[in-house]
């Protein structure tokens, strides 16, 4: 079952996510037909428990879809929909179907007005908001985290975009929620920032694997001074460095995915997001160095991948946010026990 959904996703994306489709999406056109295929395959439900309509695959396996989507530069909110459905299912809110997205709700204000709850405030840089039916977010009511399912048609959406031309919209919320759209989150899955950071780390690892293989292929094909440039030691060392960074980033993202929904997640996801950001710096720069001028053009596919990994660095907590958070945790370990902090933070969590 696990490998079946991966194979299905791999085939679907290979057949349908072309350079032209990514160009078209960056120009503002939502690839509706492809989304229909994704829904028909059921990929958007993979992180939902079996009793809520999922396939019953382990979370880490379901999350692997995000790495595969990243490897193809999928211009649709599959990762966001996976997380949104998982969070809604956790609090027994209805799974509405369709494209969903997620947002950090720290800027939202919730207040009781009679029996209703009124939500107001901004959600910034919401991925794919204008292509989504609902935004799933987490905000505090009476000091406790609540999951909200916000219908996009009732919100004000101001379009904006990320470096890769993907929708990252500014949203104004001002509406009364019914019980059907809000529920207390009994135990934190890590908050939307953590969950968003997890999927961005996984997608970054996937995109970097594609960047690496494109770069190796180019180095083997491109001839200068009478031989493929991949025969020059300088180029080989660039590519070896890219491989190391990609491997580290993938290991970090998978470590976080393996600790999804366990206490270890808070620190492993910080490490994953930080490591992905550092790797994005090196891998992006070296990939363009290997490709030369052709890689700097719109015509070449490389930019769809490098621009994505550069964008994802800043989403769901910047590197500075995450390094400070992990650093504060490390420095709060008692004198002489920094090593214990490291072993505890990477210990295998007990699944909840």
């Amino acid at each position: 079952m696990d490998s079946m959904i991966h194979d299905m996703a791999e085939r679907l994306f290979r057949d349908h996510v072309s350079h032209a489709l990514r160009e078209d999406a960056a120009a503002g056109h939502c690839p509706e037909a492809l989304w229909t295929r994704i829904e028909e395959a059921g990929l958007h439900m993979a992180l939902v428990p079996e009793e809520a309509g999922g396939f019953g695959v382990p979370a880490a396996e379901a999350l692997r879809l995000v790495r595969i989507a990243g490897a193809h530069g999928l211009p649709l909110p599959l990762a966001e929909t996976l997380i949104a459905n998982a969070v809604l299912a956790r609090v027994d809110l209805a799974l509405p179907g369709g494209r969903l997205t997620i947002a950090e709700g720290a800027g939202l204000r919730l207040e009781r007005r009679g029996t209703a709850v009124h939500a107001s405030g901004p959600l910034t840089l919401v991925p794919f908001a204008r292509w989504a039916d609902r935004i799933v977010t987490i905000a505090a009511l009476d000091g406790a985290d609540h999951v909200l399912s916000l219908p996009v048609k009732d919100l004000t959406v101001a379009p904006a975009q990320d470096l890769a031309g993907m929708p990252r919209d500014d949203v104004k919320v001002d509406l009364a929620l019914t019980e059907a759209d809000a529920a207390p989150l009994p135990r934190s899955l890590g908050g939307m920032r953590g969950l968003g950071a997890l999927v961005r780390s996984l997608a970054t690892a996937g995109a970097m694997e594609t960047i690496l293989s494109m770069s190796v292929e180019y180095a083997n094909d491109r001839v200068q001074f009478g031989r493929p440039i991949g025969k020059f030691q300088a180029i080989q060392h660039y590519l070896a460095t890219m491989a190391g960074e990609t491997a580290a980033s993938r290991t970090a993202a998978e470590m976080a995915a393996d600790s999804y929904d366990t206490p270890a997640f808070a620190l492993t996801v910080a490490a994953a997001k930080i490591r992905a950001g550092d790797a994005a710096e090196t891998v992006g720069a070296l990939a363009h160095q290997v490709h030369g001028a052709i890689g700097y053009t719109q015509e070449h596919a490389l930019h769809h991948f490098t621009k994505r990994i550069w964008s994802w660095r800043d989403e769901f907590g910047t590197e500075l946010d995450w390094t400070r958070e992990l650093g504060r945790a490390a420095l709060s370990s008692p004198q002489g026990t920094f090593w214990h902090f490291i072993t505890d933070s990477t210990a295998q969590g007990t699944p909840a």
């Binding site: 694997e209 580290a248 620190l267 550092d278 920094f338």
Partner: protein
């Protein structure tokens, strides 16, 4: 892409009970061991410490019981190794034998060699060194010139080895040398197990490193006679035997924890009162360390399953050396205190020691250039 896949270590790899036992042992053993000694990391030498560690069953852990070992997994051994390194314990006396020479003898040695040598390694009694590099054969190992020629009852060896770590105290050497001519650049090489205390015509002289330390040696073989039972493994198969040791040699926690004493000092200084910028740098350092550890444990898991993850090991060593070499720079960017060799303040002394040690980290055990070449070959570029 398999090159970038590091499967998670198997369930139960944490071995928490064992870890707590090792921590308690080290807390007692090293109660008075000062930071500037801990800074020597796995270059610290103490036969007594190695013997006491062995008494607890923590040397030769993965060796079969028949040969004095403890039949434990590579992941249990990993727990002990990383705890020793994090504490800065003086381990070199048994480290090389435990890591690679013992496993090599077990894999390629005769029953006599196994029974005579391996139990003494597991008892923490034997220190091994590796005779590999030569004056004209560094990264280019195939340029080895030291030659063992067949004579009545054994071999006669002539040649010079250099950078032989701890040869001046070691009991045995695993010698890599030429035993014949071959069309193949990698052919005609063999390995020998040499009893350094009982073999005549070997001159060992110190090479002092830039930190003033005596770790390296030059070892000259001058018509040195080795009995035929000194041959280790197959004659002519030395190259492939050496290559099969590399995954053990390159993937362990010693490839990213060599500067750990300085990390502890640095965090000790910052713990009370760190700025946001300092917190962020410690956060970045922590993330890199968590990930390197996971990659290294992944390789231990693959070794435990009998795979040969030489490529993944090269990646761990390359990234690990970058990490551990960067620590003095990071310390200087966060704390304004000069390095003072043997200085009264432990931060100053540990910074001084580590600053002088780090250039070797991307040279020993395979240079950065060699590792990147191996990775490039794995990518299909050669």
């Amino acid at each position: 892409m398999t090159l970038t896949a590091f499967p998670p270590p198997p369930p139960g790899a944490d071995h928490d009970d064992l870890r707590q036992e090792v921590r308690a042992f080290l807390a007692e053993e090293l109660a008075d061991f000062p930071p500037e000694k801990r800074a020597e990391s796995w270059n610290g030498f103490s036969r007594d410490f190695s013997r006491r560690l062995a008494q607890r069953g923590w040397v030769g852990m993965t060796f079969p019981e028949e040969y004095g070992g403890h039949a434990r997994s590579a992941l249990e051994r990993y727990v002990v190794s990383e705890e020793l390194l994090a504490a800065g314990a003086p381990v070199i006396s048994h480290w090389i034998a435990d890591r690679q020479s013992g496993p090599l003898i077990l894999a390629k040695g005769t029953e006599d060699q196994k029974h005579q040598i391996v139990p003494r390694i597991a008892a923490g009694e034997l220190c091994f060194c590796i005779g590999m590099s030569e004056p004209d054969s560094g990264s280019d190992l195939a340029a080895t010139r030291t030659l063992a020629t067949d004579v009545e009852g054994g071999f006669r060896v002539n040649g010079t080895k250099v950078w032989t770590t701890y040869a001046h105290v070691a009991d045995y050497m695993i010698l890599f040398c030429r035993t014949g001519k071959s069309e193949d650049r990698h052919g005609g090489m063999s390995q020998f197990l040499i009893d350094l205390k009982a073999t005549e015509n070997i001159q060992i002289s110190p090479i002092i490193d830039l930190g003033g330390e005596h770790h390296f040696n030059q070892v000259i073989f001058d018509d040195t006679f080795l009995p035929s039972d000194a041959l280790l493994g197959e004659k002519g198969e030395g190259w492939s035997q050496v290559m099969s040791e590399l995954a053990f040699e390159r993937s362990g926690p010693e490839r990213f924890l060599s500067s750990f004493a300085l990390i502890e000092e640095l965090i000790g200084v910052l713990r009370q009162d760190a700025t946001e910028a300092q917190q962020a740098e410690i956060g970045r350092l922590s993330a890199h360390l968590m990930v390197l550890r996971q990659m290294s444990r992944s390789v231990a898991g693959m070794l435990n399953e009998g795979k040969n993850p030489a490529l993944q090991a090269a990646i761990v060593k390359d990234l690990g050396a970058l990490f551990e070499q960067d620590i003095p720079r990071l310390a200087r960017s966060l704390v304004s205190r000069p390095a003072v060799p043997g200085g009264g303040d432990s931060y100053a002394a540990v910074l001084a020691y580590t600053a002088l040690a780090v250039p070797s980290f991307s040279l020993r055990g395979g240079t950065r250039e060699i590792l990147r070449g191996i990775i490039a070959r794995g990518l299909g570029l050669r």
